[in-house]
Amino acid sequence: MSPALTAAGARDWLQRFATAVDEHAADLTDLDRPIGDSDHGVNLQRGMRAVLAALDAADPATPGAVLLKAGSTLVSTVGGASGPLFGTLLRRTGKALGDAESVDAAALGSGLRVGLDAVTALGGAQVGDATLVDALAPAVESLEAGGSVTEAAEAAARGAASTDELVARKGRASYLGERGIGHRDPGAASTALLFAALADGDGAGAS
């Protein structure tokens, strides 16, 4: 993301994320098996396919509009906990980006902060509760602190890994208590994929 994120760049990002979700759908669902209900990969896959179709149909003009459209599509196609949460993240981030034709990493970080806050307001999870917030928050903080998208992706990955040793306090996994220790949170893992997809586009610009 040396060249700032344009509408096309935002679509490429989501396209790469969708590809990653397709590739890892079984893994994400498997993460959801021991501590949840074995559907996280299926849920996101259904959602991201709908997102790509919706973006093709609507062809939004700005990165903000791309994320807004993607977010509302997730809300109306995913269901479960992850639909409203991922959907709200992208919708609110998109709204916060406003009409800008393109945004740099710092601006994206400020937008994502709005999205993150909406996610914590909606779901009530804090860092350490073993949810997607554990991957999302450090990534957003890294961007806010001037980090690159690659650094943000690394922070998200570390955050996702940190859930391995945590007792979940939100979502389905929380019902397992101590039995959940030793398992990675599926939503944190998919959030890490979202930021990895962002970093993968770095330097590729709008290509």
Binding site: D37, D39, P84, G177
Partner: protein
């Protein structure tokens, strides 16, 4: 671990196909195959009632007959059916809410799972935009979750049936929105459940069950989404049903005193346990409850709130009042619960 052969056509279409089947045999229901919403066919029932409070529930599929099987006279006005074990999206809940709305407002009966809570909440906001007043009754009757502070809170399970039956009757009798909602919260406060799995279940299209259970093990404190429970214990050599009854009733009684209470009782099968076994369990559960000084006022035994083909049981009770009994006994005509009509 063995994955059972499923009587489906395409696992991806399981919910659509099941709703098409429901429509084929229940002309008294209207099935919206786009939104996966089941509602009353008012022409069939002849129950056009402007101002009646609408009663809506919904959630992931895989719990049949809950919720679509409880749509009809004296119970739900509409149900939104999500993918298997996945809460419906706000658009679906909104479609159900619109179908159920007759101007008197709509009550959402929501089982306490993060996904259900969030999607119904968003739907309620959308309904508000359309000037439909929505009240939400959150069902969290599952006593297996004891540490609500450190979890997403107790889950909504078998007690949902009590809430839907009682509120359905109340709405039918003309009770107003705020009162129906308050009554619903009271029913929730009076209801408790505890579930046990003797086998896991497999989501359609998946190549593996939700958990592995060795022969001779059972999961205590399960929810209704094929997920593992709170604790795994060995199956006793004899007296399995007695042990399940004892554990279930003890967990409930530790949380809500039962002595001197009149109870609505649901001895619920999780989907794959035959009625012969549920009847044995029912006998043991009644013995346990009676020994604790409770009296069984009304009882249901069967598969009402299920987890696909999971073997196991859920014991649910509701401390009754004369009003609740009157509402329980009121006529109901739905695919899965029917009397007096």
């Amino acid at each position: 671990m063995h994955v059972p052969t499923k009587l489906l056509d395409d696992p991806a279409d399981a919910v659509t196909d099941a709703l098409r089947g429901l429509a084929a045999v229940h002309p008294e229901l209207t099935v919206d195959l786009e939104h996966h919403v089941v509602s009353r066919n008012h022409d069939h029932f002849g129950d056009h009632r402007p101002g009646k409070v609408g009663l809506v529930s919904g959630g992931g599929s895989g719990h049949e007959p809950l919720h679509a099987g409880f749509v009809g006279l004296g119970m739900l006005d509409a149900a939104a059916c999500g993918a298997v074990f996945t809460s419906p999206v706000p658009d679906q809940v909104l479609a159900a809410t619109t179908a159920a709305s007759s101007g008197g407002g709509v009550v959402h009966v929501v089982k306490n799972y993060t996904g259900d809570v969030l999607n119904f909440q968003m739907a309620a906001e959308l309904a508000d935009d359309e000037d439909i007043a929505v009240e939400t009754v959150l069902v969290d009757d599952d006593v297996a979750v004891t540490d609500s502070l450190y979890t997403a809170g107790r889950r909504g399970t078998g007690g949902t049936l009590f809430v839907e039956k009682v509120l359905g009757a109340a709405a039918e009798q003309g009770m107003a929105l705020a009162e129906v909602a308050a009554l619903g919260r009271d029913v929730v406060a009076r209801s408790r459940s505890f579930g046990v799995a003797l086998s896991p279940c497999t989501t359609p299209g998946s190549d593996r069950p939700g958990f592995d259970l060795e022969p001779g093990e059972m999961e205590l404190g399960i929810g209704i989404h094929g997920e593992p429970g709170r604790r795994r214990v060995p199956v006793p050599a004899t007296g399995v049903a007695r042990e399940v009854a004892r554990t279930s009733v003890a967990a409930i009684a530790d949380d809500m005193p039962l002595d001197g209470e009149e109870l609505l009782l649901l001895v619920n099968g999780m989907g794959g346990t035959p009625l012969l076994e549920l009847q044995v369990l029912a006998g043991d559960v009644v013995a346990e409850l009676t020994a604790r000084g409770a009296r069984i006022a009304r009882a249901l035994v069967g598969n009402h709130v299920t987890s696909l083909e999971m073997a196991g049981s859920m014991v649910s009770v509701c401390r009754a009042t004369p009003q609740l009994l009157q509402l329980w006994d009121a006529p109901v005509r739905t695919p899965a619960l029917r009397w007096g009509a």
